[in-house]
Amino acid sequence: MEIFQIDILPISSAVLLIATFGVIVRRGFMDWLSAYRYQAIALSGITAIIAFVTGAWELYIAAALTILIKAIIIPIVLLRVTGGLSFVSRYELNPYISVRLSTIISALLVALSYFLTQQIPFKSDQILRAYLPVSISLLLIGLFVMVNRRVALNQVVGLLILENGLFLFATTLTRGVSIIIEIGIFIDILVGVIISASLMSRISHTFDNLNVDNLEQLKDE
């Protein structure tokens, strides 16, 4: 049991990270979507693991919800939106920072998150030690993706990564005590995605692509 834990925790976190890097290195939207799916699945897996370790039954629900919402509903919604979109708006052609450099930067971010979490007393809590840095790095990487990408869709993807980090963090720390909150968060995310989806469709109707560069009219000139 102990051994199992010791191995499974780092491995699962590694899987999660790999899935995340998948988003960074690839260019096409579909690839991200798949990467995001993997990430979601990994996430639910981790949730299940935590549930198993801590024996908190609510977390199984959380895991199920994760699968349901993140791996199924959200991708579908996004596909709906981007269905009628042109090639340009579905592929990130020229991000601000090149793929290689962005990979390095996200690696740095991971390192940073490990560095930052050093001062938190884990009280020899394996789960925390394994997942807290990962969740923070997910947070930072998600933000970085949003900063870096020019296409609205990809920013949403970044946002989703960020939310995943959030979710992982929450489950890791709170062990899913207040399930109401969890559900509320899920709903929030869902609504957020839906709204952003409708916004994106509106953007694409108005500007006939999803390029964020269109959205620079409002500024202090």
Partner: protein, 644 residues
């Protein structure tokens, strides 16, 4: 207007029974800051000035506001005007930091609204902006100084400040004084914070500018007096000497700069505004001297200087309001403030001319009018420098007196010019030709003030005793109003003395005697009118006479280094072949305003440049926005991580 009369009565009553009067404006309404009222002699003195001036000016406004009635109702003007008076009144009576600042800002606001009352002209808006921003800037300094006192004493009440004055450490006092000086100085229009004054005063309706120049900028003097004598806890100690020095030198600079700009000014109200700067300078000189004397423990001289300064405050209030009202009357009838298009008004509006003449005489400090008295007192104060046991100070004061003398001389020239150009000789424009005398109420308003000026001139002890009792100083003079002002020197001999009443009598009697004498010697002779001698060319016209610009041309040339005049000469010649045969030569001579060019413009442009760079963060790129968040977060996190 009735309020103003009440104000006079109140102040007189307070002065007469030196007992300070206390009240709370909001009674027992629970506010975090109540608005206490505190009227002692000093406030009462300023209330008296306010009451006197506002009474006359309100009288004047009755007629004057018809000027605006045609455009839009006078109700707004009236409301602002009265609110303005009220706020000034409350400023000089309020007894806590909060209420003081509250009414101070209200005063600024109402005066600002008065300045931009004619908001059809862009220029007025601009000058209004300059004014309100400058005065706000000043208020910030005042606030700072108050707050330092507050930290020191832990209370907002002026009473506590008074009690704590002695215990406050000198360093704090110095800082507070500097801040307060800059703050109030901005309101008073000392150089180099004066630039709003010549813009704001001309823009306002004349009754308002009369009040602003006569009373509002005096509230700054009030504040200074309070700070120096009450909260500064001025005492016989060398530490205070440099306060006086500062006041003195700034006063000297202000007076010279003000008068030098005044003398070359073409716009009558601008000229008056500049001369306000000059007079504030003179007041500050007196104040500074009084502080210095006090610091060197020479109470009687200190009293002399203080009296001189306060007397000049009173006088300036009187004649400056008079002059502004006259300028307003001119504007009222011929709708211009430019002296180049006036002239010959003395025939069209004799009474206004007479009143303006009185004002001009007294502001030029000529006997036997009130201006002379206060300048005489100030000069005497300057002449008493040998008592100060510090050579450097003595020499510096000597230089100050040079500045003062220069001011007096050029000041007289200024008003000779203003009166001469605007009232005398031929009318320079159609407007001036069909000028008419202004309605009675306006004349009445001016008349009251002019009368006061004469009275204060020939019976100086009315004023002096008012001041001495208001500031409860021990009077250095007999109490009968016809006595001599006399100062004795070290050897007990008579240092100097003056009795303006007798001077007046002498003048009149001498004139009378010699009139008789002349009539006896040269029999009765007739008088016939003929055209002015025109060197036989025939037909002198208005374009041949001296204009405002040409009158001041020699002075402009003498003080070239200061004015940096630019003469733009445009010639039209009949034939290119002969450039000396000209159809028309046009000379446009403009003087530069050094302060705006060398001080303000660079600073402002630098600030704007900097700000322009800073605001560029609003790029409009959502990515950039996210980046800011990321950077902030990471930096803060690292900060926390590194500081356990």
């Amino acid at each position: 207007m009735i309020a103003s009369i009440l104000a006079i009565i109140l102040s007189i009553s307070v002065i007469s029974n030196g007992e300070p009067l206390r009240a709370s404006l909001l009674g027992n309404i629970p506010t975090l800051f109540d608005l206490p009222i505190y009227v002692d002699g000093v406030s009462a003195f300023f209330i008296f000035i306010l009451g006197l001036i506002s009474f006359a000016v309100s009288l004047y406004s009755i007629g004057y506001s018809k000027h605006y009635a045609v455009k839009n109702g006078t109700s707004v003007l009236g409301f602002l005007f009265n609110f303005f008076i009220l706020s000034i009144l409350l400023v000089v009576t309020s007894n806590s930091v909060f209420s003081f600042l509250l009414f101070w800002e209200t005063m600024a606001l109402t005066s600002f609204l008065l300045v931009i009352y004619e908001h059809e002209h862009e220029s007025n808006l601009k000058s209004g902006m300059t004014y309100i921003v400058m005065t706000h800037f000043g208020t910030a300094f005042i606030l700072a100084s108050f707050l330092i006192l507050y930290i020191q004493t832990g209370s907002f009440s002026f009473d506590v400040f008074r009690q704590a004055a002695s215990s406050t450490p000198m360093l704090i006092k110095d800082i507070v004084f500097i801040l307060a000086f800059i703050g109030f100085g901005t309101k008073a229009g000392i150089v180099p914070f004066h630039i709003w004054l010549p813009q704001a005063h001309p823009s306002a309706p004349s009754n308002a500018s009369a009040l602003m120049s006569a009373v509002m900028i005096k509230t700054a003097i009030y504040g200074l007096v309070r700070f120096i004598f009450d909260y500064g806890g001025l005492g016989p100690s060398m530490d205070f000497a440099w306060w006086g020095l500062l006041l003195l030198s700034v006063g000297a600079v202000s007076s010279v700069v003000g008068v030098l700009y005044a003398v070359v000014e073409k716009d009558i109200k601008r000229a008056l505004a500049f001369s306000s700067i000059e007079n504030i300078g003179i007041i500050l000189i007196g104040l500074g001297l009084s502080v210095i004397f006090a610091a060197f423990n020479l109470p009687s001289l200190s009293i002399l200087a203080l009296v001189a300064s306060m007397y000049h405050t009173l006088n300036h209030a009187v004649f400056k309001s008079l002059l502004f009202m006259c300028a307003g009357s001119i504007d009222y009838t011929i709708h211009t403030k430019n002296m180049e298009s006036m002239g010959g008004l003395i025939r069209k509006m004799p009474w206004t001319a007479l009143l303006f003449l009185i004002g001009a005489l007294s502001i030029s400090g000529l006997p036997p009018l009130n201006g002379f008295i206060s300048e005489w007192l100030t000069m005497q104060a300057l002449l008493s420098t040998p008592y100060i046991m510090n050579t450097n100070l003595q020499i510096l004061i000597a230089f100050t007196s040079l500045a003062f003398a220069l001011t007096a001389g050029v000041g007289a020239a200024t008003f000779v010019k203003i009166f001469g150009v605007s009232f005398l000789s031929k009318s320079r424009s159609e407007l001036a030709l069909n000028a008419v005398e202004v309605p009675r109420t306006m004349l009445a308003g001016k008349g009251v003030i002019a009368f006061t000026a004469v009275i204060l001139g020939i019976l100086p002890f009315i004023g002096i005793n008012l001041i001495t009792s208001a500031f409860n100083l021990k009077s250095f003079s007999p109490n009968n109003y016809f006595g001599y002002i006399s100062l004795s020197n070290t050897s007990g001999g008579n240092f100097a003395s003056l009795n303006p009443l007798i001077v007046l009598l002498l003048l009149v009697s001498v004139a009378a005697c010699f009139y008789v004498f002349v009539r006896i010697v040269g029999k009765a002779t007739s008088e016939r009118a003929f055209t002015t001698w025109d060197c036989g060319f025939g037909g002198l016209n208005a374009r041949m006479e001296y204009s405002a610009t040409s009158l001041s041309q020699p002075l402009r040339k003498v003080f070239k280094f200061f004015y940096k005049p630019r003469n733009k000469i445009t010639r039209e010649v009949y034939a290119e072949s002969n450039p000396y045969l000209r159809r028309k030569v046009k000379i446009d001579s403009t003087t530069r305003n050094l302060f705006e060019e060398l001080l303000y413009e660079p600073v402002i442009s630098a600030c704007i440049f900097l700000f322009d760079k800073i605001r560029m963060i609003q790029t409009g790129k959502v990515n950039a926005y996210l980046l800011y968040i990321m950077i902030t977060l990471v930096l803060l996190l690292i900060f926390v991580r590194l500081t356990p």
